[in-house]
Structure formats: C-alpha cells, structure tokens
C-alpha cells in the first residue's frame, strides 16, 4: 500500500504539473492551430495521464483521457481541424480531468464524477467530424508524414492513412492504435540497439520525437520504479505496454537516465525549506547582535590591534549570512509564470462569454517570488483581470466606433524593482471615470458628499476597492457583486503590498501591484516613541519627513499636514499603542509616511532610529491577535521590538481622533467626580503657616488636599502618580525650586499641559504677574486673601460641581 501511495504521489505531482501547462498550450494552439509541436505536446500529456492512470486503475480517468487522446490524435494527424467549438469540448474534458485529479488527490480514487457526457461529446467530435473532415485529412496527411518521415522512416503509416475514408470509427481507432504501437516498437528497438551499442543516453530528444506515446510512458515507468526497487515487480503492464523484452538492457537504461535527471532538480518538502528559513532567521539575529557588540567593543578599545581582526571576522560573517539568506530565499522562489499560466485560458473563456475580443500579452513570467506569496497572489490577479475584461475592455463595435482596434489588449507583466516585485496589469479599455465612481459610491453610501468633493482622482480610483462598490448595472456571472476588488485589496495588504492605479478615461487603466519579495525576513524602519521602539516594515514606508509642530493642523478633530500637494492625515504612534507621553519638549517631530494599497497615512514618531533587517517572530498563542502588532523581532542588543502591522494600524488610525481631542476626552473620564473628595488639589508653599491657612480655607468644601514644602517636593509628588491632581496652588518664593521654575517644569509634561496652576503670592508687581503667565499660571492670587475668595477660585478652576456643596 505504501508503494502504491508513493507512486500515486508521484503521479499526482506530475499530472498536475502537466495539466497546468496544458491549458496554456491549448489556448495557444487555438490561435495557432498549425503548430504541430504544441499539438504533440498536448497529446503527450493526455497520453501520459492516460497511461499512468490505467496503471493505477483509475478507470474513469483512463476512460476520459482515452477519448480525449483520440480527438487530439486525429488533430495531430490532420484529420480534424480544431475549431473553437471542438476546442470547447477539449477544454471541458480537461476541466473534468483536473476535477478527477483533485478527487484522486483527496480520496485516492476517481469515483463520483460523471464523465459520460463529455466522453460522448468527444466521441462525436472524433467520430462525426472525423468523417466530414476526412478530405482535409487527405491533404494534411502527406504534409504531416513528410515532417515525420525524415526522422523515422515510417512509410506504412502514411500509406494506410489514405484508406481512412473507407473505414468506420472503430476501425480508425484501432488502426491508429496499431500504428502507434508499431511505431513505438520500432522506436524502442532502435533505442535498444543504441543502448546495446554502448550509448548511454538515447540521443533522441523528446521534442522532435513524434512517437511521443512511447517517450512519455517510459519516463513515467522509471519514475515510479525509482523510489523502490521492488516496485519493478509490482508494475503490472503499463498500458501502452512499453515492452520489456531485453530486461537487463532496459533496466540499465533508466538507471543511467534517471541520475542525470535527478541531478537537475530535487523535490524537497516545503517544511524542510521552512525549517531552513527559520534557522537562517536565527543566524541573522545572531549576526545583528554580533555587529552591535562589535561596535560597542570598538568604542571601548579604540585603537587596539585586535579590533581590525575582529572587524574582518564580523564583516565576513555578516556577508556570508546575507548571501546565505538570499540563497535560501531563492530556493523558496517560484516563477510567477505558475500563476500567469492560467490566464490565457481564462481570457479566452471570458472573451467568448462576454463576446469581446481580447488579447493577453504576458511578459516577465520568469520573475520569481516566494512560494507563500505566489499562493496568495493568484486570487487578486484573477479578480483584476476579470475586472479588466468585464469593465475595462469594450465590446468590438464600441471600440471601432471610438477608433480603437476591435481587439482589446490586456498586458500582464511582472518585473523586479529593488526589493519588490511589480505586477502590472494594463488594459486599453475605457478607463475609469472619476465622476462616475464618485456618483456610484455616493449612491451606495460608501462616501459622503463632503468626502467626494475633497477627493483627488487617485483617491477616487481607490474607490473601486471599497467593499460593496460595483459599477455594473447588473450582476453577471463574471462580475458585479462588488466583492472581487475588495478581495484584491485585502490580499495585497496582507502581503504588505501596495496598489497603484493609473487611468485615462477612454484609453485604458493600469493597475500596479507592488509586493515584497519575501515574508519571513524583512527590512524595517525602527522608530522610537518615548522610551519604546517599534519596527515598521520598510515596504510600507514611502518616505519620512521632519516637520515642526506648527505644521500640524487640526481639521474636524483630525491632525493633518500638507505634504507637497497632498493633505496627509496624521496619527501619533503613541495614541495607537497607548504610550504614556511624559516628556514632550521637542519642537520637531518625524512623520513616517505609510503607504498601503492606495491609502496613505502619516505616523508621527519621536525619533527615527534607522533601517535594519529583522526576522519576524510570532508573539505566540498567548498574545496573538493584538491589534496593530504583526509580531516581534529580537534586536542586536537582545531586546524585543514589536513589529507594526501597517494594515491594522491604518484601520486603527481611523478611530483615533487627533492628539489634542483624545487628551481632552481622557481627561474627562478620569475627572469623573462622584463626591467632593474626588477633587485633589496640591498646596505648594514653604511656609507651614501659609499651608495651614490655605487648608483651612479649602477644607470646608470637602476636597482632598496634598501639601508640598517646595517645588522639588511638589514635582516629586506629581511624578509619583499617586494622585490625580485637579489643580495646584503654588507659592512663588520657595527654596530649592521656586514657583516659576516649578510651573515651567510641570508644563513640559504633556500630561499636565492642562493642569490649572494658581499662583498664591505676596508679590504684586506687574512683571511678576507677567512671569506667572509666561510660566503657565492661570490665576494669580495675592496675599492676603479671604478664605471665600480662595475657595471660589479653586472651585472655578477644578470645575467643582455645585451639587457637592
């Protein structure tokens, strides 16, 4: 059973690979029906699958592929012209074949799918048209046999084909089978002769070898045998019976052939690559650490000789690590062609369905991307291309009326740009109509009138990604549900990618997807806020700018700034990650401009630390799913730095009002008073008598009072956070720290910006009052004062609720 499983696995892997290519080939064949090489390739696939499946006892699959093979074989011999209608049948049968293969993969059996309908269609094609098309066949036959002849003298085949007119279907089939076998036998004999003559590898390359029926099953057989030697015994009769007369010679042949092939590629379990990638991740962390230590050592032992040696080692290690990382990353890379392959077929189906004429040009299919990204990128591309076909490219009559060629073109290309892959989808259709997009969005309530007016063209293009947005009047089977483009956005953002749309009304749309090369190890921008650091994936960072605080404006409760011609909404990283902002002195701030999909956001940070290569680590089950955090990484100093999830952050930013208003609301919450003693006021005076007088004046209201003997002490109490003060009564003349300096210090703390400071002093000069105001005092009470006056000033400043009186 294990052997069977092993063979089955090989069979499935190979079949899926073959079938994938089949779609592409068939569509190309339709545009280029004369291409015999292509046709042969397709026939070969059908035949291989048939052979292998009959060997593995998948009767339904064998049955289907057998009939498919018939049709293809006729076409191959020119007895049949592949009209689009016939193509539809063939494509249908290939879809069925895929379905069967999927069923086999899931259940190890091919039961449960009805192929009879398709088989009878295939029969009709191969039988019915076979007769009708026979005159063509006569013309085509010699032409084909000429091609074949120089390679392998195969006269009988050509002769007998002339008799087909008089044969019935079954006989034709039988005849073909017989001829094929005959050719195979001859070919085999030749090959064996060659082997016998000591030529290790049969030179006949697969392409010119018309007798493909022979070639492929033979490849199949050794593959199946390779894993276990005993398997040879198990192999019953491979269907087109690759004869094994000279057993010894034959066994020798595959043995010599396979090693050559095996050395080219090895199939490796993805898990092993993932493990390797994890190990490299650890190495990168160690490297970062080493570099950090190196620079520390450099500082301490400047000028020592061994430093140079250490430097050399460190740079070699870091160089090799980087190379190693790239090399391992490359093993995980797959050409994007794997995804692109299915599009020619899709375009073909779509254009028939929509009765449009569409050409698809693919370029850059050899561009490589990480496997995990390849898996994610397929769906978005399908949606974009469907969209281009349905909404972009116009019907032929409209196109001609607009002076465009009746056939629309969609260009799909992929290329590298720095650390990113760009996938670009251009169509020469009608383009996006900004006004129409806005109207539709308004209609569906996705945006408000105000937003619509303020919207730039670029932003308006971005509307197509809104969930629920659809311009189609009716839901068709192709599009119009308003889901597809939303999927595009979500998937691309999940990959930390960006979407860029450009469109000119009337001449086409171009959608650019920018996707990072890999997911596990990324370049990040490290930013600091207060004492904390965060890593932002560099792929989402468009630029950083240094601004002064007065460049930040507040519009409708949101912070914004002008960035060249755009208005950029801003959010402070501290507001998102609940960073307690204690010190806020600097006049300047750094804004990290984040771009994701089509949207932009400015993230205000305190410092920019720099760019670093980081390894993404999960926070584990206990902490997973924290909004705004994508994971963590370990820095050179051994500390942990959290990685910002830019997608979530942008989402969260929408709910965060501007810094100013959030403070006000936070204040309101903490100031929710239920009784008079909830109000806390600090009395700062160096004289015990003065403090007692103030206490006597305020105690009757019932508020809580805290005393401090000088500015230093007051600051200490404030910082300890034991109390939440509502106001402070400050004497000016005090030892250690006077009232002005205390006020200035307090106002440095963001948290206490709005704390009312009331000066209580015997200094009455105008300049004293001025200094008081400058240092942030809100009231100025001169000694002596009446108790009632003091109480009323305090009550006013703490917003004392009258019901507590």
């Amino acid at each position: 059973m294990d052997e069977f499983q092993e063979i089955l696995q090989d069979f499935l892997v190979e079949s899926f690979e073959l079938v994938e290519k089949l779609d592409e080939d068939l569509v190309e064949l339709e545009t280029n029906p004369e291409d015999l090489e292509l046709l042969n390739g397709i026939f070969r696939v059908a035949h291989t699958v048939k052979g292998a499946s009959s060997f593995l006892n998948f009767d339904i699959l064998t049955h289907l592929t057998h009939h498919m093979e018939d049709v293809l074989n006729k076409a191959r011999h020119g007895e049949l012209i592949l009209t689009p209608d016939i193509m539809d049948v063939v494509l249908e049968s290939i879809d069925l074949m895929k379905e069967l293969l999927n069923t086999i993969r899931d259940t190890s059996a091919d039961a449960g799918i009805d192929v009879s309908g398709c088989v009878s269609k295939l029969d009709k094609v191969s039988g019915g048209t076979g007769e009708v098309a026979s005159p063509v066949a006569v013309e085509a036959a010699p032409q084909e046999s000429e091609e074949v002849a120089p390679e392998v003298p195969e006269a009988p085949a050509a002769e007998e084909e002339l008799d087909y007119d008089n044969m019935d279907d079954a006989a034709v089939e039988a005849e073909i089978e017989r001829l094929l076998n005959q050719r195979q036998a001859e070919d085999k004999a030749k090959r064996e002769a060659k082997i016998a003559a000591g030529e290790s590898v049969p030179e006949a390359p697969p392409a010119p070898d018309e007798e493909t029926g022979e070639q492929t099953p033979k490849e199949e057989a050794p593959k199946a045998e390779a894993p276990k030697k005993e398997a040879k015994a198990v192999v019953p009769t491979p269907p087109p019976a690759p004869k094994k007369p000279a057993g010894g010679a034959k066994a020798a042949a595959p043995a010599k052939r396979t090693p050559a092939a095996v050395e080219q590629t090895i199939r490796v379990d993805v898990k092993r690559l993932d493990h390797l990638m994890n190990l490299i991740g650890e190495l990168v962390l160690a490297k970062n650490r080493l570099i950090k230590i190196n620079s520390d050592v450099e500082e301490r032992y400047e000028g020592e000789e061994f430093l140079e040696e250490l430097n050399q080692v460190v740079s070699i290690v870091s160089l090799v690590t980087t190379d190693l990382q790239i090399a391992v990353m490359k093993t995980r890379m797959l050409p994007i062609g794997k995804v692109f392959n299915k599009f020619p077929r899709m375009i073909r189906d779509l254009s028939r369905e929509l009765s449009k004429e569409i050409d698809l040009n693919i370029s850059g299919e050899e561009t490589e991307l990480d496997k995990s990204i390849i898996e994610e990128i397929g769906d978005p591309l399908v949606h974009i291309i469907r969209n281009s076909c349905d909404h972009g490219v116009e019907t032929p009559d409209i196109r001609t009326a607009n002076g465009k060629p009746s056939k629309g073109t969609i260009n799909l290309k992929a290329f590298n740009e720095g650390n990113q892959i760009i996938i670009q989808i251009d169509d020469d259709g009608k383009g996006l109509d900004v006004d129409m997009l806005k109207d539709k969005s308004l209609e569906k309530g996705l945006i408000t009138e105000k937003e619509s007016d303020a919207m730039s063209d670029k932003e308006a293009f971005g509307l197509i990604f809104k969930p629920g947005f659809s311009t189609a009047a009716a839901v068709t089977s192709v599009s119009g549900r308003g889901v597809g483009m939303d999927v595009v956005k979500t998937n691309i953002e999940k990959l930390n990618g960006m979407i860029d749309i450009e469109s000119t009304l009337g001449s086409g749309t171009s959608i650019k997807l920018k996707i990072p090369l890999t997911l596990a190890i990324i370049q990040a921008l490290l930013v600091g806020v207060q004492e904390e650091y965060y890593a932002i994936p560099l792929s989402s960072v468009l630029e950083t700018v240094r601004i002064s605080k007065d460049e930040i404006y507040t519009v409708e409760g949101r912070s914004v700034m002008r960035l060249r011609d755009d208005v950029l909404s801003l959010v402070h990283i501290g507001d998102i990650f609940e960073v307690e902002r204690i010190l806020d002195e600097s006049e300047h701030a750094y804004v990290v401009v984040l771009g994701l999909g089509t949207s932009k956001l400015g993230l205000i940070v305190d410092t920019l630390v720099g760019q670093e290569e980081i390894v993404i680590k999960s926070l584990g089950d206990y902490l997973k799913g924290i909004e705004g955090i994508a994971g963590a990484t370990i820095r050179g100093d051994g500390g942990v730095t959290l990685i910002v999830d830019v997608v979530a952050l942008m989402q969260m930013a929408r709910d965060v009002k501007s810094t100013v208003s959030i403070e006000a609301s936070a204040g309101a919450v903490s100031n929710e008073k239920t009784k008079a003693s909830d109000y806390v006021v600090m009395i700062v005076d160096d004289s015990k008598t003065d403090r007692t007088i103030m206490r006597k004046a305020l105690e009757p209201i019932g508020i809580t009072l805290v005393e401090a003997g000088d500015g230093q002490e007051a600051l200490g109490i404030l910082k300890s956070g034991d109390y939440n003060f509502d106001a402070m009564l400050v004497d000016i003349e005090m030892p250690r720290m006077d009232g002005y300096s205390l006020a200035t210090e307090i106002k440095k703390y963001n948290k206490y910006k709005n704390l009312p400071l009331i000066a209580v002093t015997s200094r009455t000069g105008k300049s004293d009052r001025m200094r008081g105001v400058e240092s942030g005092m809100v009231e100025y009470i001169t000694k002596p004062y009446s108790a009632d006056y003091l109480a009323s000033v305090v009550q006013r400043n703490v917003n004392f609720k009258s019901e507590f009186l």
Binding site: F577, L619, Y622, I626, V640
Partner: protein, 165 residues
C-alpha cells in the same frame, strides 16, 4: 528470535514504567513561591526555568497583568505579573524577584513572582481539593497542599497559561 527479544524488552519496559508510576504516586514535587502574603506552588515538571528579572518590552492593548514580552534565548515569550493577576497592587521588583518560565504543551510564559521559597516534596495524600467555594473548571487552583506548619496553594499551570482576555 527478534520478536522474542522485543517482547522481553517490552515487558521490562512495562515493569519499569509500573514501578516509576508507584513512586510518583506517593510524592509530588513542587516549587514554592510567594506572591504578596501567600505561598503558592506549581509542579516542578511544569517549570522550564527560573531566571533573574531582566528587561522586557511593553505590549499595547493587553490587561495590566501582562507586562509584555521578553527574549529568552531567541524566543519571544510573554511576561505576566502574578501579583497584578491575583488582584494585588504592583510592587517594585527587588533582589528576590524572579521570573518563572512555565510550560504546558506548546504554551510558554514567564511569570513574575515576589520570592522563591523552596522545592517541596509532598505526599499525594496530603493534597486536598480546592475549597468547594472556588471549585469548578474556571479556578486556577489545583489543590491545597498541607504541610506541618502551613498550607500551600497549588496552581494549575494550564490555567495560568490560558489567555483570558
């Protein structure tokens, strides 16, 4: 022949396992520690290591008792303050403060405790059920260990490591 050998080895293994079970049935090994005024304990096998406190990174949007994450030889591990989790006021870390890294299946976390006491060997028969009032699936208490002069609350490691926010 080889089958016979296998049988014998298997039997021997079974016997060993049996005797091993007998021993562990009598005695439970625990590690005791203090949080606030109470002494608690967890099974020694659930403890991966006990380390002196070092720096950690705050994580936003978590309950107050989750202090953040720290780096334990390349793994990022959450750090939980048991004082806060048990409803006590947070306290400054002292020389006696330790991080106990506990593991249950794949879940690992570090717990801040005030002070270690000792490794405790306690007879199974001396472990009572948790008081009826706090019984149930939700309790973090596995049982109460009776010793000559005091009782120790034994905690469920899997409950401690369970995310409850």
């Amino acid at each position: 022949m080889s089958d016979k050998l296998k049988d014998i080895i298997n039997k021997q293994g079974e016997q060993q396992a049996d005797t091993g079970l007998d021993q562990s049935e009598d005695i439970v090994q625990l590690v005791g520690f203090v949080i606030g005024d109470e002494e608690y304990a967890v099974p020694i096998l659930a403890i991966q290591e006990i380390i002196k406190p070092f720096s950690w990174t705050r994580v936003p949007q978590v309950p107050q008792y989750v202090l953040g994450v720290f780096n334990l030889r390349g793994s990022v591990i959450p750090l939980i303050d048991l004082r806060v989790k048990f409803g006590l006021q947070p306290k400054k870390q002292s020389d006696e403060t330790r991080f106990i890294v506990m593991r249950h299946e794949d879940d690992v976390a570090g717990f801040v405790i005030d002070r270690l006491t000792m490794a405790i060997r306690i007879k199974k028969e001396n472990i009572g059920n948790a008081p009826d009032t706090i019984n149930g699936d939700d309790t973090m208490i596995d049982g109460v260990g009776k010793q000559e002069d005091k009782i120790i609350t034994i905690l469920k490691v899997n409950k401690l490591l369970e995310r409850d926010f």
